[in-house]
């Protein structure tokens, strides 16, 4: 058996320096004429351990974590040359108890079945892992379009972009509308700040998305396919382009695909130009057509009149990646996972103040607490868990005491948050919830397309109130005003952006009202985040008199001689925080 060395080269791996690791191993292999096969793969989800290097030899598979170029030399020398695996660096293996074994064991990988296990730039490797088998089964078994749609319906798969609409039903509608021209669109405009599931799937397993689209095209009789992808994801676009080219060469795209007479289908990539609202399906269609990405009124739904006014089916990346698996394994196998109304698995991007930032795929029905503590490893620096933000700017903050809520569409909705596309940003006691609400509202306010007055002006007015509160000028009645505006915006906006924009504010008021009140009534920020509400003082015990803060203070509020204790004049201090960030001895106190 040939020993293989595989380096994880997803965006996160590359950001952590995986290219240098790869180059180093390649150089070693060439200079020392080492006998192993060097391969590339994408993200296996363990972003917090990047760069990752996997070695498979006769004895088993070993995943090494945090392998920078120096460590790579060590690993190759010991493991390859001396056949002596370095236990301390191994994070996952099937051979013995390694620190991250549980991280893998607790997951059910359907969407991520290939991510991190194969070279995303090789169609052969995808095929060796049951790739393009689903569409082959359909063509060889002469499965009817209705049967395919029925399988997806029975599987209970719901739209993974956040809406949660049954995918099979969407296909059924698009199929029912007859037209010589129909379209399948893959929504890869993953704009939620703090979410990176779709990016990982596109970078790690682009063919599964293509195959999902091909199956959808077959089911609804589509003639053209578009992947609308964020321009901020250059690696995903590059790998999709490679995949499309390969699929063409094999005849999996083009004319009479898989021998199905008259099944002509092609896919091209449309790079988004940077507008969050384009995640909304009618805005996305407007953008593909070259217009400003503004949503329009529904009905007619895209299934009736979509791209170029033709029947169109839009699904999200993760939804498409599920499809081939469901066709191969059957609807029952998929529906076995999950809860009554939410079937299958869901991919979450864990980020924020959690120990193990990364990508996890869990069966629906797991509690949020288990996701954060069992998979996420708990809170960084042993701080106290405060809340988790789900659903990005459209979602809300779920407080610690509700963290036994299970992940399924309806349970999460009941808390006021939404499942969304799967971003989970964990917050600890040092996160100010008013500041978080302001952060999201600032985002939606900037991203509002301006079509509906309530969304355009309402978010602006809400942001002004939040600005005032975090600047220490909050007034009695502000919370009531915020709530009133919030419900008006929700009720009177055309698209999902406006209808959900107030959610972060509403959930934080609902669960963390005391924090708002501390800001408004006592002019205090309990989490010590809102600077205008803080007082900066010198810790006389720790101050060494190094004069760094004094020199950097932009308003000369700090006085003191070299090697003498310094003093901050509160009347002059503008609370800019420069002294706090410049001090090397942690001797600036916040209160």
């Amino acid at each position: 058996m040939v020993t293989t060395v595989t380096v994880g080269l997803g965006s996160c791996g590359i950001a952590a320096g995986a290219n240098k690791t790869y180059d180093k191993i390649k150089a070693l292999k060439e200079s020392d004429k080492l006998d192993f096969e060097l391969k590339k793969t994408s993200c296996v989800g363990m972003c917090y351990r990047e760069p990752l290097v996997e070695i498979t030899d006769e004895t088993g598979t070993y995943l090494y974590g945090e392998v920078d170029a120096d460590r790579a030399v060590e690993v190759i020398e010991k493991h390859i040359n001396q056949q002596d695996p370095i236990r301390d660096y191994i994070v996952y293996t099937d051979m013995f108890d390694a620190p991250e074994n549980d991280f893998i064991a607790a997951q059910v990988k359907i969407v991520l079945r290939n991510c991190g296990y194969m070279d995303p730039e090789s169609i052969e490797e995808y095929q060796s892992r049951d790739g393009y088998k689903a569409i082959k089964m359909i063509s060889e078994g002469k499965t009817s379009r209705e049967m395919v749609i029925d399988t997806i319906l029975k599987s209970g798969l719901r739209g993974r972009g956040g809406g949660g609409f049954p995918t099979g039903l969407k296909w059924k509608f698009a199929h029912a509308n007859k037209s010589a021209e129909k379209y399948v669109i893959c929504n890869a405009d993953e704009g939620d700040p703090g979410a990176f599931m779709d990016r990982s799937v596109l970078e790690g397993d682009p063919h599964s998305v293509l195959e999902g689209m091909i199956i959808a095209a077959y089911a609804i009789e589509a003639t053209g396919g578009v992947i609308y992808c964020r321009a901020e994801y250059p690696l995903a676009i590059k790998r999709l382009n490679i995949a499309i080219k390969q699929a063409h060469a094999k005849g999996y795209l083009g004319k009479n695909i898989f021998g199905i007479e008259g099944f002509n289908f092609d896919i091209y990539i449309k790079e988004g130009a940077g507008a969050f609202v384009c995640g909304e399906e009618t805005a996305l269609i407007a953008s593909i057509e070259g217009e400003r990405g503004m949503p329009r009124k529904r009905p007619p739904f895209p299934a009736v009149s979509g791209l170029w006014k033709k029947p169109t089916n839009i699904n999200n990346v993760e939804t498409f990646a599920n499809i081939p698996w469901i066709i191969i394994h059957g609807a029952e196998a998929y529906a076995k996972y999950g809860t009554e109304k939410s079937k299958g698995t869901k991919v979450f991007a864990l980020a924020g103040k959690v120990r193990h930032s990364g990508l996890v795929e869990v069966p629906m029905g797991m509690t949020i607490r288990d996701v954060i503590f069992k998979l996420g490893g708990g809170i960084k620096n042993d701080k106290k868990f405060k809340a988790v933000q789900m659903g990005g700017p459209s979602g809300g903050c779920i407080p610690e005491y509700l963290s036994d809520t299970i992940v399924d569409y309806d349970s999460v909705n009941a808390t006021g948050a939404i499942m969304g596309s799967g971003g989970m940003v964990v917050m600890d006691e040092t996160t100010c919830m008013v500041d978080v609400a302001k952060f999201f509202l600032d985002f939606t306010c900037k991203e509002s397309c301006g079509k509906c007055t309530f969304c355009r002006m309402g978010t602006k007015r809400m942001l002004e109130i939040l600005d005032r509160i975090t600047n220490g000028h909050g007034k009695e009645g502000d919370l009531e005003k915020l709530e009133e505006l919030a419900y008006q915006i929700k009720d009177n906006s055309l698209c999902g952006l406006g209808q959900t924009a107030p959610n972060p504010v509403l959930t934080t008021i609902r669960y963390f009202r005391d924090e708002y009140e501390a800001h408004i009534n006592h002019k205090k920020c309990p989490a010590k985040v809102c600077r205008p509400l803080l007082t900066y003082k010198v810790d006389e015990e720790k101050c060494t008199g190094c004069m760094v803060c004094l020199k950097n203070c932009p308003v000369k509020a700090i006085t003191g001689e070299r090697k003498q204790k310094h003093f901050i004049n509160q009347d002059i201090c503008t609370k800019c925080g420069v002294c706090f960030s410049k001090c090397k001895f942690e001797s600036i106190l916040l209160s």
Binding site: A15, E232, A273, S357
Partner: protein, 172 residues
């Protein structure tokens, strides 16, 4: 609202030194095709780094798309710039994960060091400082991206050091 990102004082710089003939292949490729407006603008920006007044004029004249439509689309999307940018664009991530881990400090430290505000370009046109929504490297938060290189787990001081080193490396 999205329109707020237009800064009238520097909107659509003239671009006198640009070789507009470079636009010809792009126009030839997209002319007359449906949905061509965004690819046309993306092509122009890729050539010059921004879309100048002259480029707008030429695109509109030769494709027949009204200037108002072009401007409407160009100002709607965050990607399009209408003024020249620096040689290096510093993209500081302000996604949720970065925000709760103090991305503000990074932008402020860089603003102070480069003596520019967010979105502006240094006088020597060497750096442009930008805030972006999410770079998708949340596990390394807070992050910034300069060129193709991503820098993670930053503090304000570290970010300043990295930027200083890039300038030093260029001078040598």
């Amino acid at each position: 609202m999205r329109i707020a990102r237009i800064n009238t004082s520097e909107t659509a710089a003239n671009g006198d030194e640009q070789d507009l003939r470079l636009l010809d292949p792009i126009i030839a490729k997209h002319k007359g095709k449906k949905g061509n407006l965004i690819p046309l603008l993306q092509g122009a920006q890729e050539l010059y780094g921004f879309i100048s007044k002259a480029a707008f004029d030429k695109l509109s004249r030769e494709t027949g798309i009204p200037l108002s439509d072009m401007f409407g689309v160009a100002t709607f999307y965050a990607q399009f710039r209408m003024s020249p940018v620096g040689k290096n664009i510093i993209k500081v991530c302000h996604g949720t994960a970065c925000h709760v881990q103090n991305a503000v400090e990074i932008t402020e430290s860089l603003e102070e060091m480069l003596k520019v505000k967010d979105g502006e370009t240094t006088e020597d046109r060497f750096f442009t400082l930008e805030s972006v929504a999410c770079l998708g490297c949340c596990s390394l938060a807070p992050v910034m991206m300069i060129g193709d290189q991503t820098y993670g787990k930053l503090t304000g001081n570290e970010a300043v050091k990295i930027v200083k080193n890039i300038r030093l490396a260029d001078k040598n």
